[in-house]
Amino acid sequence: MEKQIIQLTVNGEEYEAVVAPNQTLLEVLRDDLYLTGTKEGCGEGACGTCTVLLDGKPVRSCLTLAVEVQGSEITTIEGLASMGELQPIQRAFVEHGAIQCGFCAPGMILTAKALLDENPSPTEQEVRQAISGNVCRCTGYAKIVEAMLKAEMV
């Protein structure tokens, strides 16, 4: 199993990593780049906590091979806040009580960002559809949807 060197841009910074073919993007982000904001939940693509933005689109990092993201641009939850200032969606999540235990929050917020980047004023139905692949085990969906609907106005 030959390791290979990949270049990738994470949150605007360029990284080089030596990865084995069977390493997932999630493992590289957490174990090699120490970006532990991205969580591993089920590891099977069902729960959505490992969601990251790959070239602007939400994908499951637990089902993405690290060798495939060579040259891609990745956004993780660490890439949103800048200079200690929360990104509007993050602030909306905090202000509307959409963060309880916080485990689903990175995936939820990134999925929200992808939706709002494409569609700045979504309907409630569109919001629910967008986060339909993200599980919140505190079951605080109402607050999350509320935060996403309000985030557009910030």
Binding site: G45, R60, L65, T111, G133
Partner: protein, 327 residues
């Protein structure tokens, strides 16, 4: 969960991919979206020595209108099918079914070809290695028994793809390729009906393209999916109906079930019953009864076989009524 070890092969073209596949044969698996394959590998259901990555083959990622109909490359992401103005205009029922597959982040990854070549599923198969080792091997894992239907002589795992029934109802054909040749078969022939080996692809062969012929007369289609949640879940019952309409009456009908057997099921009897009829309540009820008769779900995915069988009738009625109304 960690992936087992494998060598990663990155072909630069389809030709190179087919060369590599013919060289490595059974030892290689192709990966497109990876949303199903990597899960199976994490569960050690599949441990290929080589993983041949098709993701970078742009030549298989297209949606084009040809003389005979619509051609969609096997590597087209489901999101692109859902959003394609061409698909939405020509075959809205396909975009509808694609939007029911899993959830948006997985639609960004999953491909048309991967969805069609989905392996069959079963409660006793789609489990971690740790979970499975508590039981003897079943037909699907190379053993000599079925944990679901005791005493049976074959595997009952269920084909749960959402796109296959719709595309079969639209009379789609698929282009298959191996080193030195390519050929076209009706999509229905891609499915063997055998739970152990559900997809009729030999080692070294891949699906490259789907062709959907343009219907010559007005038609309407619908796909109904029964599942627990509004997203993520595979269908417990899926029903695709496509009706060709000649004024008020139905000139031809294709009624295809999914998630009740090891392959999509074309309900021939229902198609015959609808032909030449006005799709009114009575005709629809008869067709639904025919679908009910051929569905034989067993207790190997969610819900109960009895409920799923009853819902076949309901889903068939809804699908045909909607398809008729859309023509």
């Amino acid at each position: 969960m960690r992936l087992p070890k494998f060598e990663h092969l990155q072909p630069g073209s389809l030709e190179e991919a087919l060369d590599l596949l013919s060289e490595y044969g059974e030892e290689a698996k192709v990966i497109a979206g990876g949303t199903d394959l990597l899960v199976s590998m994490k569960q050690r259901l599949l441990t290929p020595k080589y993983l041949l990555n098709l993701k970078s083959l742009a030549e298989l990622d297209f949606i084009e209108e040809g003389k005979e109909g619509l051609r969609i490359g096997a590597l087209t992401r489901l999101t692109n099918i859902i959003k394609s103005p061409l698909v939405r205009e020509k075959f809205p029922v396909l975009a509808q079914a694609a939007s029911y597959v899993s959830a948006p982040p997985l639609q960004n990854m999953g491909t048309l070809g991967g969805n069609l070549c989905l392996n069959t599923r079963c409660f006793f198969y789609n489990q971690s290695q740790f979970w499975r080792q508590a039981r003897p091997l079943c037909f699907k894992t190379g053993g000599e028994m079925c944990h679901v239907v005791r005493g049976s002589d074959h595997c009952y795992s269920v084909y749960q793809g959402d796109l296959a029934p719709v595309l079969i109802a639209l009379e789609a054909r698929v282009k298959l390729a191996k080193k030195g040749g390519e050929w076209v078969v009706p999509l229905l022939d891609l499915y063997t009906g055998r739970g152990e080996e559900p997809i009729a692809l030999e080692a070294g062969e891949i699906l490259t393209e789907v062709e959907i012929p343009t219907p010559t007369i007005p038609w309407g289609g619908d796909y109904q999916k029964l599942r627990y949640r509004g997203a993520m879940d595979f269908p417990l019952v899926g029903m695709a109906a496509v009706l060709s309409l000649n004024g008020e009456s139905c000139a031809g009908a294709k009624v295809v079930l999914t998630a009740v057997a090891s392959a999509p099921v074309m309900v021939e009897e229902a198609c015959k019953l609808l032909e030449g009829q006005r799709p009114d309540e009575e005709a629809i009820a008869k067709a639904a009864e025919a679908a009910y008769e051929v569905a034989h779900p067993v207790a190997n995915i969610g819900s109960t076989p009895l409920y799923r069988k009853k819902m076949v009738r309901v889903m068939t009625k809804r699908a045909i009524a909607n398809a008729g109304g859309r023509g």
